[in-house]
């Protein structure tokens, strides 16, 4: 790579697949005949694959490629596949191709490499057949895995009954070959694997050997409890060693330590190593190529206040290359990197993209239905089970079917073109595609219909794969009959389909950001830097939110200085309009066209905006525990931080200080982990030790949840002789005033140390409580006003935990920061950029398309009962006064077409277009009357 931000030249080597991708249909006939078998890397080399094969079942592109193990490539022998392929897609003459690309920015998302447990030989991996890694186990569980989803042992291909998971393999260790950081995902993925194992085999006995359980993310605590409560599941707090392999059974013994009964040795049928996350395999080469720096762990060096920025301008990084990362963060850091690219390249936005142009739509509403049926083989997925030619024949016998044919892959580019060509040629006005679930490919086929010049809603999909061939793979004849039934039903429905219009709505280019903390300000700046007007609304008189109470981060950021910088940027930015001491009175409208009334310092104004970002933050719980509020020596973590920043004399001179973790959360009332407190306490402890190295500091914890790089600070604090004492929730610490040595008043903290087997009595001058992070009052208010959802704990609920982590279900509204869940500043900033990036996918367009499949009210039938209004989660239905009284009316732009209201309406006045009674009943009739 050469050049600089805005103008990079990158040379790529495109490796040959030896397949002409445009010709390959993915039929896999070649795979069947290929004589070379080799261990399949996608299945962790547990099973074999052929030298020519499709990378994995849902690969994109879904074409074959030829691996280095190919006989022809090695010795110019064989070449069977060339003869087999009807489309002449095999091309052994392909050579590696050099491609030069000029771009303005680069996002590095090379991901991670699982830790290799073979490195330290300490768990018998590669030595004992029945020791596997967690990634091996993922493949074992998976329906497309080596044993088609049967969890089988390598030694005897039998189901293991007793399975053990060993946590922290390769993580949280400073021994050679290990990683000092916590990988952050293994606790929860192991729990997932236990749950799924129990679904495979309810009788399975599952044991997780662990140290701390780190359920620090949203809904993880409940997930942990759910796992723990399953019958036959044990969590045992001990790191372990492998004892031996039993020669006859190939079972493996595990030795673990108990505080009371010493070391025990137990036999397991299968051992799963919860391996941690390493940087991508070729990280040094990657860093050299792109001229970026790496951190000590080999991950990309990033800037704590610009966490997607690599050390070279114009290069951004997202996903696990930034450090151990779970899926939601991989996704939102991607959106965030996107937003950063947008800031850099805003001047050229839209210059290289092209709008699609479709042929004019033919009005066929008055024509007799002429239905075309396309039956997909889906390679072998359908074709091997369902008799496709017979099904095509059958389709032709159905009323109104004017044309039918089979296709190998209906979704392939050439097949889609064939559909639009045939539709035009045969004068079809309805299309039924018998293939897979509409969930994935309906948008593609609707597009195909538009290409053919007919309304895109004249499409129906019969799902003969997920609903049929995949679940009835052993009943071929019945499966063929069911495919025909499904097609008959689709044809019946297709007859009644109506053309629907989607409409383009103009997009107001401005954004509203609710909440003027770091999240809100960062998002506002990112939007404004991409040319969008931003209205930033803050309820307090000063911007800054929670950050105003923070002074440092573990990474060494001076938070107050940073805050001053950001606030300065906000006030200086010509496109950002700040409203402080502000309250939102009401809000309405829909995606691209919102209107919100804001009252600020006595003035009320209406803001029109296309997108809304909610960054309403969180608050610190006010404890009722441990004498808080009764004894001034008991403070919260934030209060302690204030006192440290202010060099409070009594604090700095304290001889002994006790911190108590999990105050006000991880309990019945607040069943979640506040995520930041363990590291926050460590930060305070390290700062205190810096001020007064003689101070005895004790941290009383349940699980230390210093995930990711924070683990290094945990060890650092231990090295500074901060003493960590684990307590059980059933036996919490006690705090009481007492008279200590020298007759001085102290707070006596008593806590049971499970390893010591003793009650420890510590005389403390100060007790600091790691008080929970709780949802802010502002968030609750915002949830009500903007009709967005919260989770049971009161934090905003995203549209999809993993795949849409900063979107709300309602279009055009985004979230970021602590309102989503407690998080650190760096995480908040990533998420803020992400929310801005997501908002840009809306605001950068002049129009937004609303679906045609929405509800409408037949006013004559409506009795104005309001049942539909209360059923609607989007606020899409309102009353309108008419001469006949109150009538419900649907705002089609807000309606999501979920049809809930249809079911509630007592008179059948409200209906959902594209899913009308007539359409559905005709389908049901066809099902029962062949």
């Amino acid at each position: 790579m050469e050049g600089e931000a805005g103008d990079f030249q990158i040379t790529l080597i495109k490796k040959p697949k030896y397949i002409d991708e445009d010709q390959c249909t993915g039929c896999t006939a070649c795979v069947e005949y290929c004589p070379v078998k080799y261990p399949d890397p996608f299945n962790q080399e547990i099973s074999q694959n052929k030298a020519i094969h499709i990378y994995f079942a849902q690969a994109i592109p879904l074409v074959t490629y030829i691996d280095d193990s190919c006989l022809y490539l090695k010795e110019k022998k064989c070449g069977i596949c060339e003869g087999i392929c009807k489309n002449h897609a095999i091309d052994f003459n392909q050579r590696a191709e050099k491609i030069e690309v000029k771009v303005g920015a680069v996002i590095l998302a090379p991901g991670l490499e699982p830790y290799d447990p073979g490195l330290r030989h300490d768990y018998g991996y590669g030595q004992f057949a029945n020791v596997v890694t967690s990634l091996d186990y993922e493949r074992l569980m998976c329906a497309t895995g080596p044993y088609q989803g049967e969890i089988l042992r390598a030694s005897d291909r039998k189901h293991p009954h007793k399975i053990a998971w060993i946590q922290c393999v390769g993580s949280r260790q400073v021994i050679p070959g290990g990683n000092s950081y916590c990988s952050g995902v293994c606790c929860t993925y192991a729990q997932k694997q236990v749950i799924l194992t129990k679904e495979h085999d309810a009788e399975a006995e599952c044991t997780i050997f662990h140290n701390d359980i780190r359920s620090y993310n949203k809904d993880f605590e409940r997930f942990y409890q759910r796992t723990e409560s399953l019958p036959g599941v044990r969590f045992i707090r001990s790191y372990v060693s492998i004892g031996r392999e039993i020669p006859a059974s190939k079972n493996v013994t595990i030795r673990y330590s108990t505080p009371d009964d010493g070391v025990k040795e137990e036999e397991f049928g299968l051992v799963v190593l919860s391996v941690g996350l390493n940087p991508p395999a070729d990280y040094t080469a990657l860093a050299d190529k792109f001229g970026i720096e790496l951190n000590a762990h080999g991950f990309c060096q990033t800037n704590p206040v610009d966490p997607m920025e690599a050390t070279r301008p114009g290069i951004f990084v997202s996903g696990a290359f930034r450090g151990p990362t779970d899926i939601p963060e991989s996704v939102f850091s991607a959106s965030a990197a996107g937003s950063e690219c947008g800031e850099l390249l805003n001047y050229r936005r839209g210059k290289l993209t092209q709008a699609r142009i479709y042929p004019p739509e033919k009005d066929v509403a008055q024509e007799e239905p002429r239905i075309g049926v396309f039956v997909c083989h889906c390679g072998a997925n359908i074709g091997r089970i369902v008799d496709v030619p017979a099904t095509v024949e059958y389709a032709l016998s159905l009323p109104h079917v004017a044309y039918a044919q089979e296709q190998l892959f209906s979704c392939a580019t050439n097949s889609a073109k064939e559909i639009s060509d045939m539709t035009r040629e045969k004068g079809l006005n309805r299309v039924v595609i018998a293939a897979c679930s509409p969930r994935t490919l309906e948008p593609l086929f609707r597009d195909t219909l538009r290409e053919a010049g007919i309304n895109q809603y004249y499409l129906d999909m019969a799902n003969i794969r997920e609903h049929n061939s995949w679940v009835h793979s052993k009943e071929r004849e019945e499966s063929t009959r069911k495919a025909q039934d499904l097609i008959r039903m689709s044809v019946a429905r297709a007859r009644h389909l109506e053309p629907l219009q989607e409409f383009d709505l103009p997009v107001n280019k401005a954004g509203l950001v609710v909440g003027g903390g770091l999240a809100g300000m960062t998002a506002a700046l990112s939007l404004a830097n991409q040319g969008h007007e931003v209205y930033l609304v803050e309820k307090e008189s000063d911007l800054g939110g929670m950050a105003r109470r923070l002074h440092s981060t573990l990474e060494g950021l001076d938070v107050q200085q940073y805050l001053i910088d950001v606030v300065g940027k906000i006030y200086r930015h010509p496109l950002v309009h700040v409203y402080t001491e502000a309250a939102i009175l009401e809000t309405g409208g829909y995606v691209g066209n919102f209107a919100t009334k804001v009252k600020s310092r006595g003035r009320v104004m209406e803001i029109k905006h296309g997108a809304t970002l909610l960054a309403t933050g969180a608050e610190e719980y006010r404890p009722t525990e441990y004498l808080y509020g009764e004894d001034e020596r008991v403070v919260t973590n934030l209060e302690l931080e204030e006192q440290i920043a202010g060099r409070d004399e009594r604090l700095v001179g304290a001889r002994s200080l006790v911190m108590i973790q999990c105050v006000g959360c991880r309990n019945a009332e607040r069943n979640y982990c506040s995520r930041v407190c363990c590291s926050h306490s460590i930060k305070n402890a390290l700062n205190l030790k810096a001020l007064n190295p003689q101070m005895d500091i004790y941290i009383l914890f349940r699980d230390m949840r210093t995930y990711g790089y924070y683990e290094d600070y945990y060890r650092e604090a231990a090295g500074k002789e901060v003493r960590f004492i684990r307590y059980e929730p059933t036996d919490p610490p006690e705090v009481e005033p007492a008279v200590g040595e020298e007759g001085l008043g102290v707070l006596r903290v008593t806590v049971t140390d499970p390893i010591l087997g003793k009650r420890l009595e510590i005389d403390a001058d100060v007790v600091a409580l790691a008080a929970a992070v709780i949802p802010s009052a502002g968030s609750q208010e915002a949830a009500r006003l903007f009709k967005v959802n919260s989770n049971p704990d009161g934090f905003f609920k995203e549209a999809h935990v993993k795949l849409r982590p900063v979107d709300f279900v309602a279009d055009g509204i985004y979230l970021c920061g602590m309102a989503h869940y407690p998080k650190f500043i760096t995480e908040t900033l990533s998420q803020a950029y992400a929310a801005a990036g997501r908002a840009l996918t809306l605001l950068s367009h002049d129009t937004v398309v609303a679906s045609g499949s929405v509800c409408e009210v037949n006013e004559r039938k409506c009795i104005g009962c309001g049942a539909c209004i209360s059923a609607c989660s989007y606020g899409a239905i309102e009353f309108r006064e008419t001469r006949q009284g109150k009538k419900a009316v649907v705002n089609p732009v807000i309606c999501k077409g979920d049809g809930l209201c249809n079911a509630k309406c007592p008179t059948g006045a409200i209906s959902l277009k594209h899913h009308t009674d007539e359409e559905i009943l005709s389908q049901i009739d066809a099902a029962v009357q062949p």
Partner: protein, 384 residues
């Protein structure tokens, strides 16, 4: 449940005695799971470390004296707690108060013997070279190729004198110009140091170093991995001296590769090799002894189930060689059973403590006729 307050003075005293890394412990329990003690009885290193953390040590308990310093737990410890340093600090602490519980009492006698005679047995210093009487071994002189330092066990112990003899025989075959220091040789001090007697260790070491300097010693050949460890790692660290140290297994391998030593006989036996803790784990010497054995025609070398980095301790390190261990708690018994289980006719090793313990187990378990215990030199002397 007992209530106790952290005992600051004790923590400070332990720190002065060298306990430091205990503070890193996060109580994962890994040390306990690899500790050989937990194969024969309960023993928790984790708990000892935890007691150190709060200064809540009961110094009269035998627990302080169990650790054989085999090195298994520090090698696996994810937090690098350096258990051995902590254990030595605890022993210094207890020894400082003169507390030696019953089975540990012999340590006192051993210390006395070392002080008086330079060996743990109380044998006369003058008789230190008696083993070599009939072997025409030269006294070391400046300019010789190498100093042979047999150590206390090979000098005095009846069984181990055979190993010294075998060594001499091989060295002569190879034409090595070597000598010994005889009565001027002192115990290396490695094991007594592990019992917390730092001053005695230093005294022994100083005397050895002085003798070596006086005699112009540059390169030292040792038979005991314990001597090897302390000469190679501890002397340089404490006294900034830098003698070249080589263990007999390394040296023989060297001689073999240089062509100075040739194997000319078959050795048709099934043997297995036990890695001594101080040769393997503490110093990373795993390959040379195996390479030597594998060069011998006819010899079938089978690995023990716990070998190399995972080698199972014989129980003799850390001063335990002098401490009474009940029969049911001797690690060597388990190790011998392991060797028998893989069908070995000979258990070969390269450490006098290991040989002492295994020979003892052979008798105690009544396996005299089933398996032989040999030093690697004893095998080699028969084939060169």
């Amino acid at each position: 449940m007992e209530t106790a307050a952290p005992f600051k003075e004790a923590i400070d005293e332990l720190r002065e005695n060298g306990a430091e890394a205990f503070k890193f412990c996060y109580q994962c329990g890994k040390c306990d799971t690899v500790c050989p003690w937990n194969r024969v009885r309960n023993f928790s290193m984790r708990k000892l470390i935890r007691e150190t953390t709060f200064g809540l040590i009961e110094i009269e308990r035998e627990e302080l004296w169990r650790c054989t310093t085999c090195g298994r737990c520090p090698q696996e410890c994810p937090r690098d707690v350096k258990q051995i340093d902590n254990i030595i600090a605890l022993r210094r602490f207890a020894a400082g108060y003169g507390v030696f519980p019953g089975p540990v009492k012999p340590i006192r006698t051993v210390s006395g013997n070392l002080t008086a005679d330079g060996n743990p047995f109380g044998e006369e210093r003058a008789k230190r070279a008696d083993w070599a009487k009939d072997l025409s071994v030269k006294t070391f002189e400046e300019g010789m190729e190498i100093l042979y330092f047999p150590g206390c066990y090979l000098s005095y112990d009846a069984r181990l004198k055979k190993v010294a003899a075998a060594t001499v025989k091989i060295l002569n075959k190879a034409g090595v110009n070597f000598g010994i220091l005889g009565a001027k040789e002192n115990c290396c001090g490695e094991s007594i140091r592990k019992t917390g007697n730092e001053s005695l260790f230093k005294r022994l070491a100083r005397e050895n170093i002085k003798t070596w300097i006086d005699h112009g010693v540059q390169k030292i050949l040792v038979s005991s991995p314990h001597c090897y460890h302390t000469f190679k790692n501890e002397y340089p660290k404490e006294f900034k001296v830098n003698f070249e140290v080589v263990h007999i297994s390394q040296y023989l391998y060297e001689l073999m590769n240089e062509g100075r030593l040739r194997i000319n006989k078959d050795y048709a036996k099934k043997v297995t090799y036990h890695d001594p803790c101080y040769l393997g784990r503490h110093n990373g010497i795993y390959d040379e002894p195996r390479a030597l054995l594998n060069k011998i025609p006819g010899l079938q070398l089978d690995e023990l189930p716990e070998s190399r980095e995972k080698s199972f301790c014989c129980g003799g390190g850390g001063g335990r060689i002098w401490i009474e261990t009940p029969k049911s708690e001797r690690f060597a018994n388990l190790r011998l059973e392991q060797a028998l289980a893989i069908g070995a006719e000979e258990l070969v090793t390269a450490c006098p403590y290991c040989i002492t313990n295994f020979e003892d187990s052979r008798v105690v378990l009544g396996h005299d006729d089933l398996i032989q215990v040999k030093d690697i030199t004893e095998v080699l002397q028969e084939v060169v």
